[in-house]
Symmetry: C2
Subunit: 333 residues, 2 copies
């Protein structure tokens, strides 16, 4: 059997259909014959189930332009883990957009309806648009061909914390506001700011102060405008994006606090009754522009860190039409 490469399919004949599709889920049956994607043919060559394709052995086929090596590594790894999977091609699977492979639950195959994962493949040096995440597994192949699987989702971000506080007054310093005699609720119940020391004074970050000023809950010299101007001076466009996300989180009943120690914009608490009983913060939030392109290495870093501190890495994509939320977590398929 010497299957032939024709464009982007490998035609493998009727015996191959029985041997490879019916029993092990490779390829797509066309009439009584079998079409294989090049990555599937590469795997059959690698396993010794095929001797050659168009005269090429595995080594020659992998060195040819027919199959990207990163796709082969991911295909092989998922097969090694006991999955059947299909290339996400038009006509081969339902809804192929945004994925490279459709992976079936263990024990299932292309003749069943169930889907376990939709997998998008990227080399570590490729960038990945933020908008491509949210409904798929990103399989990143690093320079040593190790694969990191990142599950992406569109989480519901909400909580029960109350954003309302009585009005306060403050002094705008260089990059923060100090309220010298604030209502106790400001810090103690609603968890705005931090104590300056042992007395009642509370310091607010610029983003906290700007949000409170927008709600009419904080007066400073120059008002909201002075806070926005200062924020933009020290952070540029990022300030407006961070303020939009801060406000959105507060409106959703979630308390954002700085995520600096984790390299993020915010860590968040969903259910704050008061600072005496805070519990564990659940999310790390990084604020990005909706047209952001991720370097996979930065994603790996964020997700690894979040996992290590038992939080979920969450990206707030800020665009003209509002904020989209995407969570990313490590997956062992």
């Amino acid at each position: 059997m010497d299957p032939t490469l024709a464009g982007d399919v490998v035609r493998a004949g009727s015996r191959a259909r029985e041997r490879f599709y019916d029993s092990r889920g490779y390829g797509r049956p066309v009439g009584g014959d079998l079409e294989l994607a090049p990555v599937e043919a590469a795997h059959l060559l690698y396993r010794g189930d095929l001797d050659s394709v168009d005269g090429m052995d595995f080594r020659a086929f992998l060195a040819s332009a027919a199959v990207p090596e990163v796709a082969f590594f991911v295909y092989k790894d998922l097969r090694d883990r006991g999955f059947y999977l299909s290339p996400a091609r038009e006509g081969w699977v339902d809804d192929p957009a945004g994925a490279d492979f459709v992976v079936y639950p263990r024990g299932k195959g292309p003749w069943d309806d169930a889907v376990a994962h939709r997998v998008r493949v990227a080399g570590e040096r490729e960038t990945v648009p933020a908008t491509a995440l949210g409904a798929s597994v990103l399989a990143v192949v690093d320079e040593e061909s190790e694969i990191t699987y990142l599950e992406t989702d569109r989480p519901d971000v909400d909580g029960t914390s109350d954003a309302d506080v009585p009005p306060a007054e403050g002094d705008l310093l260089a990059e923060r506001v100090v309220c010298w005699d604030p209502p106790a609720d400001l810090y103690e119940r609603a968890f705005y700011g931090q104590r300056l020391g042992d007395d009642e004074a509370v310091q607010l970050s610029l983003v906290e102060a700007a949000y409170l000023a927008q709600r009419g809950s904080l007066s400073v010299d120059g008002g909201e405008a002075a806070l926005l101007e200062r924020g933009r001076e020290v952070e540029g466009d990022r300030f407006d994006r961070r303020l939009a996300v801060y406000a959105d989180l507060r409106e959703r009943g979630v308390v954002p606090k700085t995520g600096f120690k984790f390299g993020a914009d915010f860590r968040t608490y969903a259910d704050v009754d008061g600072v005496d009983d805070l519990g564990h913060s659940e999310l790390l939030v990084r604020v990005i522009a909706a047209d952001h392109e991720f370097a996979p290495r930065d994603l790996a870093l964020d997700v690894r860190l979040a996992h290590g501190v038992r939080k979920t890495m969450t990206f707030a994509l800020v665009g003209d039409d509002g904020i989209d939320w995407v969570s990313v977590e490590r997956l062992t398929p």
Copy 2:
């Protein structure tokens, strides 16, 4: 007592000398009198040890331009932790360059010779030149005025691993090289590359392959030039920097492997005898240009992650005159 602000010193008189310098290490004695730096005066105002400076109470003094708030927060925090410290000013301390404060060991003060830490203060939005690190503690004040202390050092990077291997041949694919029939030592003893699968074939990253080709230990079509060209195609200038650092580490007896899962360029093993007995990798290495400016948040992220996986975050600064090594670790003073 109403001390006066004169330029960048606060003149506090002879009683202040006795009360603040002799017993608690504030300021610098000049003749029989005492000069305070504004940050010291702010702390004395905050504690209620001074009522006013030039008619300003603590609130007014902090809101004035006399003292940067981030310096005050760090000064206060170190005092709260039981240290005496001096502003690193010419004439006040030996060797003030590159530091904002000189911190004495607990129980010691400016009248002793010992120094515990040289501290540089940065707000989280300021960038820090890579060349400024290596002999000081960086105190980063985040937007909520929490302080992260990062100890920076110039580590000795060395090990006992052997970089020599018998020559091998390989095929250059898109972003890696496969050696189909390599000498066993390549992977098993010297830990170049990874197995492709269950057989003998070993895949090398482009940086591993380029290093081996430079040493005459690897032949591919087009030789070293083809590997350098491909590396620059997919990584730009970064490839040459990474290759220089890879080679330097190998020459020092250290084995670099990809640090992708940790968001770094390399993780390193100092004492490799063979892959069967690898042990724990010690360093995470990030390769940067010598003129790099750190965003403190990125530093915090790297250092936190490295700590979580029990490795030391290490930066390789690649400049025209070679490579400088800087390690950064969290410190609790």
